[in-house]
């Protein structure tokens, strides 16, 4: 085992895990404001297809990512209007957003399936994913705005009584989440596997949601959760290719099992979970109450 081989493995892990980090950090910010958006997978797909189609039409990578993020803002904005102003149930609306996103992305992308494009190097985005996690962490714990966002997620009535605009804070948090999910999607269709295929995010949105719980709503732990999942996936592939005999189905389960085991360790301290989980998660806010 030489150094190149190990660096090669690390590279593959970084490339494979980055979309999970983007989607999970976006969802974390949304959830910290007290809103659960289960539409991650749908927003990722719409982000992926809009980036791809824009790239095919315009040939500009910059425009592709811009339009993709814009699509994420639109999708999550729609969700925000429904849950914040029309008080729809967050879980049902989020699921609907995923189903809608799957259908919409298939419709938009129908003509573009199998169009060859030149993929973009992933390394810039890998770097950005780390930077965003640290910015979010700084924002939460070192800035006043971050404190307000967390306050809104903990007790919207108290935050409201203090004069903070709960709806506005949540709207921004939802839109940030949406644009991160779209970024994750566009990374997949432009860098990771440069193509458009229906449903190509292959359930990564749901894994991102699980990673948020795993991280106990702490930004740095998003990295730990995502990299355990991504790392075990790639390591089991390496073990297989090296011909190491391990029972077959284990390969498939390994990333999930590893994630659950760590989750058990983290959640063994109930108080700490309670301290970091946003107390107002999924509870709608009625003004004037």
């Amino acid at each position: 085992m030489n150094l190149d081989f190990i660096i090669g493995i690390l590279e593959i892990i970084l490339i494979a895990t980055t979309p999970l980090v983007f989607a999970a950090i976006g969802e974390l910010v949304t959830e910290k404001s007290g809103v659960l958006n289960l539409g991650v997978e749908g927003m990722m797909l719409v982000g992926a297809v809009s980036a791809f189609v824009t790239l095919v039409i315009s040939g500009s990578y910059f425009l592709a990512f811009l339009i993709s993020i814009f699509s994420g803002i639109l999708m999550s904005g729609m969700f925000a209007i429904l849950v914040l102003y029309l008080m729809t149930n967050q879980i049902a609306t989020g699921l609907a957003l995923t189903i809608f996103g799957i259908g919409l992305s298939s419709m938009i992308g129908k003509k573009y399936i199998g169009t060859p494009i030149d993929g973009l190097s992933p390394w810039f985005f890998v770097l950005i994913s780390f930077v965003i996690v640290f910015i979010v962490s700084y924002f939460f714990y070192k800035t006043k705005s971050g404190l307000i966002l967390r306050a809104v997620g903990e007790s919207h009535n108290a935050a409201h009584a203090l004069g903070y605009n709960v709806i506005k804070v949540r709207f921004i948090a939802i839109i940030f989440g949406g644009s991160m999910c779209a970024l994750a999607g566009s990374y997949i269709s432009i860098c990771y596997a440069p193509m458009w295929q229906e449903g190509m995010t292959a359930e990564r949105g749901w894994i991102a949601l699980a990673i948020v719980v795993f991280s106990t709503w702490k930004p740095e732990r998003i990295l730990i959760g995502a990299y355990i999942f991504g790392g075990v996936t790639i390591l089991q592939m390496n073990l297989q290719a090296l011909g190491i005999r391990i029972p077959g189905q284990f390969f498939n389960m390994a990333p999930y099992v590893a994630t659950i085991i760590v989750l058990i360790f983290i959640s063994s301290n109930k108080l700490r979970i309670k301290l970091s989980a946003p107390a107002s998660l999924t509870i709608p806010f009625f003004k004037g109450k």
């Binding site: 494979a16 993929g119 996936t233 592939m237 290719a241 077959g248 189905q249 390969f251």
Partner: protein, 355 residues
């Protein structure tokens, strides 16, 4: 007034509608989207071919992205309930679901791809893809420089294991030093994971990537890394022009047209069809002249001819299993029964088939 108009238009519609013979409805269940440029894509090409051949005597529908679980029952039942006469279920793991629904609809004909259990109204059909795997193995044996082949496998079913063995037998014949690295990804369709597997294999020294999954992500990864690859199910050369040696193409159209015709004529009967290159069900994509020497292309073409006329069989003895026991004696070819249930690696392949 509107009521009267509606009544009359409906009335006229029925009169004229019944003047023509009702077109037979043919339904398809797809595991992926028709745009995957792989497995489902080729079934959809077959469906369109059938339409073009039979014209107005049939109408077709499909349901895409049907998971291989209880959802499949619902999807198949939906087609059965909506008056379809012939239903193709196009993935191995729809087997139980197909039979479950078929029991309740004895008048509807079912065709289950790559399956091995028949019923009065359930026929099975498959293609002898392993014939193509043999040619790929032969090419790979000549083309590899690192003597390491990376093979991306989907699920441990006989169809996939057979492909691996056919490939290895041919490759090791021309190059006894060849080593196979196999990754089971346990999915047919996940471009990201397929690319990860390809990159992992390349990182471990493979200079030719073979895949038994549905998208062209592995071929793309090979192109990016500057190694060679075989396309899967359809010609994928446009996505990886500098890597694509050839591909095994699945040609379902003529079979679909013939079976639908049989339903239209009322002559359909259950059975098992397993055709290969001789019937044109398995076709090799154009060999890449930029990458392969002319002599090798000629050898591959000669093999095609020999497979078609029956003088060459990928599983010709002596073949040994990993334990060193002879499973096919010298001078004989493996019987179809063994091929259909193949769940072991032949001697020389490392690792074991996941159970």
């Amino acid at each position: 007034m509107i009521r009267i108009i509606t009544f009359f238009t409906t009335f006229l519609f029925f009169i004229f509608g019944s003047a023509h013979a009702d077109p037979k409805k043919v339904g398809f269940i797809y595991i992926g989207p028709p745009g995957d440029h792989g497995w489902t894509y080729m079934h959809d090409v077959g469906r369109k071919y059938m339409e073009s051949q039979l014209g107005d005597s049939i109408s077709t529908t499909y349901i895409e992205n049907v998971p291989e679980n209880a959802d499949a029952v619902r999807a198949i039942r939906k087609l059965a309930d909506s008056g379809h006469d012939l239903i193709f279920t196009t993935s191995f793991n729809y087997m139980d679901q197909t039979h479950e629904v078929a029991k309740d609809f004895p008048d509807i004909k079912f065709e289950h791809a790559t399956g091995y259990i028949q019923a009065d109204n359930v026929a099975t059909y498959s293609a002898r893809f392993y014939e193509g795997r043999m040619i790929e193995g032969h090419i790979a044996g000549h083309m590899t420089k690192t003597n390491t082949i990376g093979y991306i496998a989907s699920y441990p079913i006989p169809e996939v294991v057979r492909g691996i063995n056919a490939f290895y037998l041919a490759a090791s014949k021309v190059n006894p030093d060849i080593k196979m690295k196999i990754i089971w990804v346990f999915t047919w369709y996940d471009p990201g994971k397929e690319a990860d597997a390809a990159n992992t294999l390349i990182n471990q020294g493979a200079d030719i990537i073979v895949q038994h999954t549905d998208t062209y992500a592995p071929c793309q990864a090979a192109q990016k890394a500057g190694v060679l690859a075989f396309g899967q199910a359809s010609n994928q050369e446009e996505f990886c022009p500098d890597s694509h040696l050839t591909a095994i193409e699945d040609i379902w159209g003529p079979y679909y047209a013939a079976r639908a015709k049989a339903v239209v004529d009322g002559t359909w009967s259950s059975g098992d069809t397993w055709d290969g290159m001789d019937k044109g069900m398995v076709v090799m994509s154009p060999y890449n002249t930029k990458l392969m020497p002319a002599s090798l292309i000629q050898e591959a073409v000669n093999m095609e001819v020999a497979i078609k006329d029956g003088t060459l069989h990928p599983f010709t003895g002596p073949i040994y299993n990993q334990a060193g026991e002879m499973v096919v004696p010298e001078g004989e070819v493996a019987p179809d029964g063994m091929l259909l249930g193949m769940n072991f690696y032949v001697q020389g392949i490392d690792g074991e088939v996941p159970q």
